[in-house]
């Protein structure tokens, strides 16, 4: 079947790949007896894209090619209706998550990704590297000293911020860009797409954009998950809070590259935007946390990979607020420590975004766009 995995090739069963994916969280896939309940119950399954069972099957068979060449992992929002009704308790949702990890790992630098995917001490190592990088930067510009006034610039000189941010950003963007291209390439080599001519290609590419925009802005597909309403709200708030914070950082960077008068007073519009965004982010994350607690017993399985991502963002938000709070109280040392942690956290978040769950922010919209463009959904 053309629509089912890689066309026309004999599929060689590879148990090493299967075992790897099971380590990635797809261990439930072993239990699956291929009844198809998950596919039929999935609110996102569309006829051309039979998932999640097809992905579970590919995991059972250890078909590296099929897993890499499928857009399905990115079309899934882990709403877990499949896991809730699975007659074998095979947790297909987890398999989808594992497939995403596998694609991320395969499309980026494997050993680094492993730090965030399976190796539980990985985050400590990466945080240590980030801290080292940060303190080395401070040392290099001679700013590694105790602060004397409550001014951020006095803690961390602007060039350090610039250079560190640039290095982390460029690294992240490069890795993410390559990863996106690789994923898109794999998917394009997978199932046969429906476009024919160049002109059709271009118009299809343009026509596919609105879908992506609505997806990004409103997460239409995610809202289809019937059981996932609180999750959807939480996710939306987190995302917009994060974007808000990202935009404020960008704005400050653009308007005030020298960071004069920084930090702003609390009445500064930019500061207001920053604080509101932070509040939205944290509220959203709390909602997600609450939702996860509510569903813990039934369906959702969140592993190391997931929590690392969650808590680093959460920590970024929280430490940001803590910095604000300390600054407001005029406490010098605590502000300095919190600020350092905050910066390290953010640097870590940016630098290792393509290896963490963060990668979905980059890959998912492109895969959705491509799938629409190529007629896969």
């Amino acid at each position: 079947m053309a629509e089912y995995g890689v066309a026309g090739k004999t599929l060689k069963v590879d148990l090493d790949v299967r075992n790897l994916l099971m380590d990635y969280g797809a261990s439930g896939a072993a239990l699956c007896f291929n009844c198809g309940n998950c596919t039929a119950v999935c609110p996102l399954s569309e006829n051309g894209a039979p998932f999640p069972r097809s992905m579970v099957r590919f995991v059972q068979l250890g078909s590296r090619q099929d897993i890499l060449h499928s857009p399905e992992p990115w079309l899934c929002y882990f709403c877990n209706e499949c896991s809730a009704t699975c007659p074998r308790d095979a947790k297909p949702g987890n398999t989808m998550a594992a497939a995403r990890k596998y694609q991320i790992r395969s499309a980026t630098i494997g050993p680094v990704a492993d730090m965030l995917v399976t190796k539980k001490w990985g985050i400590a190592l990466l945080l240590a590297v980030t801290s080292l990088f940060y303190f080395a930067g401070l040392y290099y510009v001679g700013a590694l000293k105790l602060p004397t006034q409550l001014l951020f610039q006095a803690f961390v000189p602007e060039e350090v911020m610039h250079i560190a941010g640039m290095v982390a950003g460029i690294f992240a963007v490069a890795v993410m860009g390559i990863a996106i291209l690789r994923v898109l390439y794999w998917i394009s080599r997978g199932r046969q797409s429906r476009y024919i001519t160049i002109s059709k290609k271009i118009s299809a590419a343009i026509r596919s954009l609105p879908l992506v925009i609505t997806e990004v802005v409103a997460q239409r597909r995610m809202s289809k998950c019937e059981t996932g309403r609180p999750r959807w709200i939480g996710h939306m708030m987190t995302m917009w809070g994060f974007i808000g914070l990202f935009v404020t950082s960008g704005l400050i960077y653009m308007i005030n590259p020298n960071l004069t008068n920084y930090p702003y007073s609390f009445t500064n519009p930019i500061q207001i935007l920053a604080n509101v965004s932070a509040a939205v982010l944290i509220t959203g994350m709390c909602l997600i946390l609450l939702d996860r607690r509510n569903h813990r017993a039934t369906t959702q399985d969140h592993d190391y990979f997931d929590w690392v991502f969650f808590y680093t963002i959460f920590a970024a938000g929280i430490t940001g607020l803590v910095v604000e709070a300390f600054r407001f109280s005029g406490l010098l040392m605590p502000t300095f420590i919190a600020y350092s942690i905050h910066i390290i956290n953010v640097l870590f978040l940016i630098a290792f975004a393509p290896f963490s769950k963060f990668a979905h922010v980059g890959i998912r919209p492109f895969v959705i766009w491509y799938s629409k463009y190529a007629g896969l959904v």
Binding site: G36, N47, P87
Partner: protein, 440 residues
Amino acid sequence: MSVNEYDVLVIGGGIAGMEAATALGDMGFSVVLVEKEPSIGGIMISLSKVFPTTDCASCISSPKVSTVAHHQNIKLLTYSEVLDVRKENGEFKARVKQKARFVHPEDCTGCLKCEQACPVMVPHEFNQGFVGRKAAYVPFDTAYPRSAVIDLNNCIFCGACERVCPTNAIDFLQKDEEEELSAKAVLITTGGKLFPMERKKEFGYKKISNVINGLQMERLLAPTRPFNTVLRPSDGKVPGKIGYVLCAGSRDASLGNPYCSRICCMYSIKQAILLMGALPLVDVTIHYMDIRAFGKGYEEFYRQAVDMGVQFVRGRVADLNELENGDVLMKSENTDTGKIVEEKYDLVVLAAGILPETHNRTATEALGYATDSIGFIKPRADTIGATEVSEGVFAAGLGTGPKDIVDTIAEADAAASSCASYMKENFGKERAEKILRELM
């Protein structure tokens, strides 16, 4: 010998209980058979036909009913419940409650006059609620004892039945009665029940009128059926397209029943074949995961259904929804093609699985047998091929696990055999001495 002493107490008068009681009675043991319903016969007597022979189920089980009813070694207590049973000095003592029928069965001729006179109408259990019955009623045509019973929960005490009864058999002052009896061995054949399909909310059972369960379809197909043809409940239309959902409530960890119910594949195939015979234009589609046609002649029966044009689609049904005209929209994945199938059916039958009947389990708890997580009686540890579940206590039929009629019969006979061996080994000498004493 006092009247209340028996060799074997058999609890449950379905096909397993009847078979075991007959076998033990034929061997010369005195048997008391306790059945909680007003008539013996169990589930089997209400079925349409049996697979793979398509013999009429009530036709082949009613002779069994008759044999038990007239067996000189079998004492039958219908509409009775074992309240408790315990072991004392190697024998079993039981308290049995004879529920009040409000009719004296020895006087009742089964003339149905009370039934005709009774103004109350409630859903008929035997016919799965498709038609009504009165508060004064004979349970079903081939019931034994063929005696009316008055359902006091629904009775309005109008006295109409009492007035028309030609033999004055009706007695509203009748009370539940308790009696003590003793037995040397106990045989549990308490049977099973259908999985309560309401628990799978995606299937909308009892919410969508044209979604019925397998036992309901049995009644629609039975020779003694209520409508004389197959009609769907919502509007009485003869269905043109019928869908079967296999493994409904079975093989489903999300509903807490990991077991296969063993008979649903075959009874669905049988019903499909009967439907093809009854409604020549009908299309029947069976949605399955594995067709478990494992018994003798079953695979051939399955083939027969395929050849007759019954459609088999692999993939578990995930969702059922009611459409405006009463049709049912079914969603599943056809796992052979990997495509999602959305199919409209006039009528959908849930091939509901089997659970053990645990009604009043506490009464027999003191017997010391073990049960599994959903209540099936387990064999004694490390035994194989045995029907003895604790010393002197035997079990057979659906209570020990889902099974079809033929396996139930074999198990009931095996239990009777082991029970007889137990009796001979433990009471053989004493019995002989007793008989000798009586002779002298």
